[in-house]
Symmetry: C2
């Protein structure tokens, strides 16, 4: 299983991908065992992969919104269809099926309000079975991390 050292490695790698030597120094081991631990975490699928994070503003995505979507009825077929359609829209970064007052929470990133409007009108609201869409625009992302507490 996973010990204290593995957790230290994961904490470091969640912050920033670093070379083995740097990680080794942080966890107090030599390069080889550190390397082997990282490989093992990757093989076990605990580390799913490594990705580049981009600066949202610099690539011109000026609008981020969270959309609360309510479906007409909670039929399995309707939900499955919705979930499949969602995958094909690159504007949708995240889609979570949630409990509570609505069914799905979507994270949307687009260039401007015009594109957002188009997306809602021409892509999202035309999907079958949608009852309601309520959008909240992100004015400021106070904290934005991919790291889990370990």
């Amino acid at each position: 299983m996973m010990d204290r050292t593995d957790r230290k490695i994961l904490i470091a790698l969640q912050q920033e991908r670093q070379n083995t030597k740097e990680i080794a120094a942080k966890v107090g081991l030599s390069v080889t065992p550190t390397y082997e631990r990282i490989k093992k975490l990757e093989q076990q699928g605990i580390i799913k992969g490594y990705v580049a994070l981009l600066d949202r503003e610099k690539i011109g995505k000026r609008v981020v919104a969270y959309c609360q979507v309510t479906l007409l009825k909670h039929q399995k077929g309707l939900i499955n269809t919705f979930e499949q359609e969602i995958q094909t829209f690159p504007e949708i970064m995240e889609c979570h099926h949630v409990s509570g007052g609505f069914d799905f929470l979507l994270k949307i990133a687009v260039s401007d309000i015009k594109e957002f409007h188009q997306f809602i009108n021409e892509k999202l609201s035309v999907l079958e079975g949608i009852s309601n869409i309520h959008s909240s625009f992100v004015m400021n992302s106070v904290k934005e991390s991919t790291a889990y507490k370990l």
Copy 2:
């Protein structure tokens, strides 16, 4: 500025960090110009960094919730204090100041419902100026990406 090739590079790196040779093959360039383009994108801050993504279940975070937080009043002081406190809680992965029916949208990841309950009661709700907290639990993450459309 950024051309078609740079975009291809960013698309690839947002999916998975790859070595220069692989990226070079994908964009149809040799290693050197590809390398220099990646470095330039990093220096410009378009690429903010590279992080490891972990398997949530495998590290034992069984509960993810989105919390809608409403403050008592929209005073700058109150908002600033709230935003600072938020930073110190590792259970909070994201915190967005949003428009609409509530003020902040928080993404919370914890081990179990007990820990969630403790977090809400002992950490979040005790913060000064909080009027209301409404939580939606994630039952299934249909799509979960860090990649922006390019």
